[in-house]
Structures are given as structure tokens and as C-alpha cells.
């Protein structure tokens, strides 16, 4: 499959990534090769095959809805690039 640098830029925008023009050209070629390889699955007839999304077999695992003391605010904020001691700080939104 042929993938253009413009198409790579569109998908990258969805993933919140930006690339230089050189990166877009290089990635477009590599991603085109990889997608072409992925397209080999089309040779296989999978009509009526139930998709397998997880091998675990466990679904809808629940626990009792009980209150507990989880992580402290100080620990939760400790790795943040910017805080005011109480909240995560981000650039002004509104």
C-alpha cells in the first residue's frame, strides 16, 4: 500500500505527534512497507470466525465498591512536571 507523507501527518495529528518533513517522508515509506506486509492477512478467509481480543477469558471482573485510602496527593503529584502543590498545572485552556 502506498502511504503519502500527508497521510502520515494526518494520522500523526490524531495521535498528538508532529514530524519534520524528512521524518514524514521516511516514515511514509516504512509504514507503507509494513502495511503492505500486514495486508497479507487478506489472503486468509476469516468469514464467520469470532475475533479473539484477549486470551484471558475473564470478562466483567468486578470488586466490592468499598472506600479505601489509596495514594496520597503528595505521592500522586510527585512526578508531575508542574504543580502548585494541590493540582497539576497546564497551560491556560479558557
Amino acid at each position: 500500500m502506498k502511504i503519502t507523507p500527508e497521510r502520515v501527518a494526518e494520522v500523526a495529528r490524531l495521535a498528538r505527534l508532529t514530524f519534520t518533513p524528512e521524518e514524514l517522508t521516511r516514515f511514509a515509506a516504512q509504514i507503507g512497507d509494513i502495511l503492505a506486509y500486514m495486508d497479507t492477512l487478506n489472503a486468509l478467509d476469516t468469514t464467520g470466525v469470532e475475533p479473539l481480543y484477549s486470551p484471558s477469558g475473564l470478562t466483567g471482573v468486578t470488586r466490592e465498591d468499598a472506600a479505601r485510602q489509596a495514594n496520597s496527593r503528595a505521592e500522586t503529584l510527585a512526578n508531575a512536571p508542574e504543580t502548585d502543590g494541590e493540582f497539576f498545572i497546564v497551560p491556560r485552556i479558557v
Binding site: I34, Y37, P51, L52, S54, A80, P81
Partner: protein
């Protein structure tokens, strides 16, 4: 004892339990070996020497505890797994300064068992790679030949065990990331059944594929570690509520291979495997027959589709999992951004390396409107066919076996420029993760041309770790042990 670091995990554990070795001596032996070998192999991203010494002193003050099966044993943990108060970088710039305030379930269990966490090991960034060359902090060298890769993504853990820096290590395996580096470095690596070991505290890559597992110098050592880290964890909803057997006892109970039906999938033994790899693996199968195993040929007919299926599933899951790195709650932030979207874009683009970005873009593509059915759903259907292949094969045999990789360790830089060629080197490891089954790689000798370690894989049915560990232990005792890695003897 002067050569403590040469002992296997089980040997040092027994010496510690009998009081012949102190925890302090075990730690000092490992730290000395790290100092001697690390400048040449770069297997580690951080060494917690001070904390390890403190912990050893605290253990020694009370003396050996027979209820703790890893009492005083120094271990290394892959840097994708959180260990409290040590950096967890995933070998990425985006997590360069991340220090978790909690232990992963597996790490907490190791500590409960008395183990000492000595260091965090190098890896491909976010476990994306097969050579450890995708680390943002530089590659690891193979202790057998410093010009070659250790495999990946758990290449640091494999190289550290091979170089006798530690007695065992935790790795993670999403598509072969424990087994392939174990094979390249001449150590034993086990990927447990999906759900056997909790993923709580493991930085997620492909959540339906990822498993934490042990890497050590013998299958018995891996069994000891697996007993410590396995078990149900309410914090991971895919963690299996299965009883945990005493894996070491099960391994030691097996004296030969009588009654074991060994299945050879023909797709793993055909063209595309180097002759020296095939011959070394075949010699191990012959040895298994002499020990009583019955060899049968089986087929996993959808194997040619496994690589494409795996990369679609893994990249789709990666693109979702790595959305959490936003420069807000933890990790790298680009401080030049004036508004929020720009903050995300700049922080992520500067923080992630090329392979990670390539996989996020591909994963986003295969999940995007108009392509979801053609790629992601299609791959999930083929995944079901691959699982059925295994179920059918296990009606005819107890253990499946084949080479861990088509070749021995390749050269640093050899495949780095061609991502697709790198992906294709995972052909023999990845279908196991798609099916969620346990698999192990252990060394069966050196390739006659390359003189590098060759690994044989054994696959078992779900929650069948006992039989593959036991088979590997019996077989490795019958085979000639590998010499010391020669890259470190010069």
C-alpha cells in the same frame, strides 16, 4: 567463598539459607561483577547499590528465614516494571525522571520472598524492539560477543544474567521479549501463561499480550522465581484466579522424559532457519528422545500469518496505552508550548523515540475509521485461528518445541535501519503471546559456525508451566553446559 557470582540462583539461595553466605556477601559479589562487566556490556540503566546494601544488612541482622524462598538473593528488574524509589524509565526520554512510589505486584512478591532488588535493566524503549538498540540511553552489548546485540526487548536482563551480575532477573514478553534475548545470551527465560503473573506496575505496551516472567541460568531457577511472582492480584482484572503450584518441586520431581510427547511444528523446522540453529535444536530433540520423550510431528498451519497479526494487535494496543504520556501528570514536558494541544504534541514528539512513534502511528492508523475492520478486527480473527492451531496441536502432544529464533545474535546496527526485517526476526516467538500460552527458551549449545548460544523453545498448554520447566531442566542436565561468555573473558 570467592566466586559467589558464579553460583546459580538455587545454589546461592541454598547457601544463604544454610548461613554459609550472608546476604551482604551476595550483594557485594554482584556489585563487584557489575563494576567489572558493566563498562563493556551496558546492561543496566540504574544500580541501587546503597539500598541493596541496606536491605542486605537488615536481612543479615535477623538471619535466614526458611519461609522466604529467595532470602538474600540479589535480582535485577527490567526498567518497564515499577520498583518503589528507583527510576522506571522504560529506556525512554519521556520517563527519564520518573520514580514510582509503589512496587509492581511482581516486585512486591519478590521482596516478600526475601529478594534484594539490585538494579534496573536496559531494554528497547517501551519494550518495542528485538535488539535493545531502541533504548534512548544506548544499546546493550552481548556478553558472548561485544559487537552483537543481546536480543530484545529484555536484552539488559538477559545480558546481566549471562554476565553473572545477578542470579536472576525479571523480563517482560509481549512478542518474545524474554525468550529471544534469553536465546541470544545463553540463559533461560520463561514467558508465563497470560494471567499467571499480575501486570500491575508494568508499564503497558500490548495489554492483551504482555506478561512478566523470570530469566535465570537454569530452568529450576526460573521455577523458583515463578512460584514467588505468580498468583491472583485483584489490581489486574486479567490476573487468573488459579492456584499456584510449587513449580520448583514439580521440576525437581521429574527425573526423565518418559511419557512426554514432544511435538515438532513443521512450520518451525523448515526453510528460513540457519543450519547451525536447526542442528543444535535437533540434537537437543534427539537427546530428549534418549531420555524417553516421544517425538511427533505436528502443524501450526497459520504460522505464516502470525507476524502480521501480532504487529497489528500490538501496535493498536500500544497506540491506546501510550496516549497516557501527555506531559501533564508525569514524564517529560516541553515547556515552550503555549496551549494544551501543543503541549501534548511537543512533549510526545520530543519524548518518544522513532520506533515508538512509528508504532503509535501504525496503531492509530489500523484503529482509525474505515480501517478498523480491515486490520484490527481481521487480525483478531486470525488470532483466534492461531489459538485453534495450538489447541489442535496439544491434543497430539504435551509440549511443543522449536528454535527460539531463526539465527543466533546478529550484529549491532545490522537490522536497525529496516523495521520490517527486525519484526520478521520474531517469527518463532510471537504466536505464543497471541494465544496467551506459556513458553520458555533455554540454551542447547553453541552454533557450530557462529560459536554463539542457540536457544530451544518449549511451549505448553495454558497454565502448563510445570511441564515445560521440568522438561527443560531434565534436558539441560543431559546437555553439555555452556562455557562462560567469552566476550567477558578477554
Amino acid at each position: 567463598m570467592s566466586d559467589i557470582h558464579e553460583l546459580s540462583l538455587t545454589q546461592v539461595r541454598d547457601g544463604l539459607a544454610r548461613g554459609e553466605i550472608t546476604a551482604g556477601q551476595a550483594v557485594e559479589a554482584c556489585l563487584a561483577q557489575i563494576e567489572a562487566t558493566e563498562p563493556r556490556i551496558s546492561a543496566l540503566l540504574s544500580v541501587q547499590g546503597g539500598k541493596a546494601r541496606e536491605r542486605a544488612a537488615a536481612l543479615d541482622a535477623h538471619g535466614p528465614d526458611p519461609d522466604r524462598p529467595l532470602w538474600g538473593v540479589p535480582l535485577v528488574v527490567k526498567d518497564a516494571i515499577c520498583a518503589k524509589d528507583a527510576p522506571t524509565t522504560c529506556a525512554s526520554r519521556i520517563l527519564e525522571n520518573f520514580v514510582p512510589f509503589y512496587d509492581a505486584f511482581a516486585v512486591a512478591k519478590l521482596r516478600q520472598a526475601g529478594a534484594i532488588i539490585l538494579a534496573k535493566s536496559n531494554m528497547d524503549e517501551f519494550a518495542m524492539g528485538s535488539s535493545t538498540e531502541n533504548s534512548a540511553f544506548g544499546p546493550t552489548a552481548n556478553p558472548w560477543d561485544l559487537s552483537r546485540v543481546p536480543g530484545g526487548s529484555s536484552g539488559g536482563s538477559a545480558a546481566s544474567v549471562a554476565a553473572r551480575q545477578c542470579f536472576g532477573a525479571l523480563g517482560t514478553d509481549t512478542g518474545g521479549s524474554i525468550r529471544q534475548p534469553a536465546s541470544f545470551c545463553g540463559v533461560v527465560g520463561l514467558k508465563p501463561t497470560y494471567g499467571r503473573v499480575s501486570r500491575f506496575g508494568l508499564v503497558a505496551y500490548g495489554s492483551s499480550l504482555d506478561q512478566i516472567g523470570p530469566m535465570a541460568r537454569t530452568p529450576l531457577d526460573c521455577a523458583v522465581m515463578l512460584s514467588a511472582i505468580a498468583g491472583h492480584d485483584p489490581a489486574d482484572s486479567t490476573s487468573a484466579p488459579q492456584p499456584v503450584p510449587d513449580f520448583a518441586a514439580a521440576v525437581q520431581a521429574r527425573g526423565d522424559l518418559r511419557g512426554v510427547r514432544l511435538g515438532l511444528p513443521k512450520e518451525f523446522w523448515g526453510d528460513g532457519v540457519d543450519a547451525e540453529v536447526k542442528d543444535a535444536c535437533r540434537a537437543a530433540v534427539d537427546a530428549a528422545e534418549k531420555l524417553g520423550a516421544k517425538v511427533v510431528e505436528v502443524s501450526l498451519p497459520h504460522t505464516p500469518y502470525a507476524v502480521a497479526t501480532y504487529y497489528i494487535v500490538a501496535m493498536a494496543e500500544a497506540s491506546s496505552n501510550l496516549a497516557r504520556f501527555d506531559g501533564v501528570r508525569y514524564g517529560y514536558r516541553d515547556r515552550s508550548a503555549g496551549e494544551l494541544i501543543e503541549l501534548y504534541e511537543k512533549s510526545r514528539s520530543a519524548g518518544f523515540g522513532d520506533e515508538v512513534k512509528r508504532r503509535i502511528v501504525l496503531g492509530t492508523y489500523v484503529l482509525s475509521a474505515g480501517y478498523y475492520d480491515a486490520y484490527y478486527r481481521k487480525a483478531a480473527q486470525v488470532r483466534e485461528l492461531l489459538r485453534r492451531d495450538y489447541l489442535a496441536a496439544f491434543t497430539r502432544c504435551d509440549v511443543l518445541c522449536g528454535p527460539a529464533a531463526p539465527f543466533t545474535a546478529f550484529g549491532l546496527g545490522e537490522k536497525k535501519g529496516d523495521p520490517l526485517q527486525m519484526y520478521l526476526s520474531d517469527i518463532f516467538t510471537i504466536s505464543l503471546n497471541l494465544a496467551g500460552l506459556p513458553g520458555l527458551s533455554f540454551p542447547v549449545g553453541l552454533g557450530r559456525d557462529s560459536r554463539l548460544p542457540v536457544g530451544l523453545q518449549l511451549f505448553g498448554p495454558a497454565f502448563g508451566e510445570e511441564i515445560i520447566l521440568g522438561t527443560a531442566q531434565v534436558l539441560s542436565q543431559a546437555l553439555e553446559a555452556l562455557p562462560t561468555p567469552r566476550g567477558l573473558s578477554a
